[in-house]
Symmetry: none
Subunit: 198 residues, 4 copies
């Protein structure tokens, strides 16, 4: 039995990250102790600090993972060969589904960013901005081609939509009446109706 996977078959770093994600989402970053994380992962504190430089590192890892996934998906959708209206709708809906599928990551993301060390915070903000800008470019493309209204600045539109995505972790319940896809369709519809040129 390999040392790196004792307990079950999952490597220690993954186990730690999974435990941290669950706990950070449940109780928040500050209310989660390193002790609780290692107990949940079934390892010792030393092991955690062997793989992660600090508690803060664990949090950063959650962010990095989520940003990577979302950026890749947005890039794929934005680069697709489809009318801009279709691409905006797909992107708007996709981020909703992905967020709901990773609701733990999401609630951590939107609630605990200020716990990151200044430099990591800066790094995350930069990647976040890249995402925001890609989405905004899509809106602007639609505005330039006349399919979207120019009444509202594209920046504000992006923040409008992402506010609702951000908010999902506050109210969405897997056992509620709407499936992730249904929520995504509704929210994308709302965005598109708000955008459509009169």
């Amino acid at each position: 039995m390999a040392r790196t996977t004792d307990g079950d078959g999952t490597p220690v770093p993954q186990r730690l990250l999974a435990a941290a994600t669950r706990l950070f989402a449940d109780r928040g970053y500050d209310r989660t102790s390193v002790q609780e994380i290692v107990e949940a992962a079934g390892v010792t504190k030393g092991a955690l600090y062997h793989y992660f430089g600090s508690k803060d590192d664990l949090l950063h890892e959650v962010y990095a993972r989520m940003l990577r996934v979302q950026q890749e998906r947005l890039d794929a959708i934005a680069d697709a060969d489809a009318p801009v209206e279709r691409r905006v709708r797909d992107a708007a809906a996709d981020v909703v589904v992905t967020t709901i599928d990773n609701l733990d990551d999401a609630s951590i993301f939107f609630r605990s960013m200020h716990h990151l060390s200044p430099e990591k915070n800066k790094q995350v903000r930069a990647e976040r901005r890249r995402y925001h800008e890609r989405f905004r470019a899509l809106i602007e493309e639609g505005q330039a081609s006349g399919v979207f209204s120019t009444a509202t600045p594209a920046d504000l539109v992006v923040d409008y939509h992402f506010g609702s995505v951000h908010h999902l972790s506050t109210w969405y319940r897997p056992d509620g009446p709407l499936s992730p896809q249904q929520v995504a369709d509704h929210l994308a519809d709302l965005l598109l109706r708000a955008l459509r040129a009169p």
Copy 2:
């Protein structure tokens, strides 16, 4: 000179609440120590515990204050004698302006709710729901009277808009290009456009 106002003219409890609000918004609830609060307010720990039962109480006070203000304003607008479309627009814009005017309270609100004790949390949620329901009733009134589309459930519409309000504390900067009123107008427009029956 009254003991309760030493320092400047403001009573001690208010001073404490103001200091706590600023600090909670700056560093978050957990990162703010009681010591820092009393120092910022220019009083001693004994004084704080004289007026407030716990650190948690201070946080709850911030919530209560904000909920009270917003509920009152929503009630006034909803009860007004105006077409439903007008009332929804006013309510949607008003909550934006009020939130920006109290951005500290708002960022605490959306970030620190899980720090409240279970019972206070329940209480806040209940008041929050009352607010949500009043707003939803307005939307439903518009849907029933045919001025709003029924394509999207009213609940979801409310969460859509409040997501963007929630998000304000993340991106709005007083020194940015848009005044609170301008942001409010834009966001209310987006909502109304999304709602308007086809």
Copy 3:
């Protein structure tokens, strides 16, 4: 019974300082835990941190206390109305007696300076230099007036003597054959013989 003196009649800060001095001298700064200090002083950790900002602060306090005493004694001797040879001899002997009388402080002083935080280290060095310079001025006065040889730079003479003072905590034992005063007389004699103009 006052809270500040429970245990015996000595105030808590003094008790802590005494315990820390003894332990630092015994085992060295790094090998002494805060836990051991508070146990020896009969208080809790919280009490220590109520009075001292850090473990480092405790060390600095030991230094400050010793430097203050030695500087005062040197000033008094140097300002006395006596021939320079007499004043040098008195100063040289006095620092030996004082050092032996506070052998714990002394061994901490000469062994643990590098554990002070950079700024505190700087401060201690500055006060130390003041002491050194006062002593050196005395030597130079003797050299200028012709009673001391100028063969060796005064700076080096001071370091020569203080090396031996420094060294006392390594070898002096209270139960040895020589009293503090006898050691002081011998060391002062050695210095004076080395200095005397040929």
Copy 4:
């Protein structure tokens, strides 16, 4: 390529010892981690524990190396065919030069002895005493033959001189005005002047 010399041509144990010496002198024994040592030496922890039983062993090695060198030099000088006054002067000056040439070893020596395990500490003390006694015998030989004053016990004279040697690592700077040899000459002169029979 031999495994023991990878990196550059120096064998691993030497590389470890050199790294440890530098780090112990810089930050002190306790403030230096085994990790830092192996990184500085460009090897892994396993390698260190292959060659040395413990961190403590590394420290002991530094001591052993220095004691060996100094004892050899003293023996050679003491056994030389020269007048006692000359031999004392040579020994006194030589220990100064050797100490300055190995200032890292010296500062470790005088600052970290209490970090050795009790048995190693005892061993070092014994070798130290042998050195001390050889030097004292030289002084006593001079006193017996009438060239040195008997006013001061030889033991004290030795401690007097070694105090100043000990002190060198505190104040000597390679970029200062005096060369090692000049310092050695001055300090030996001071000793000889203090010793000379009246």
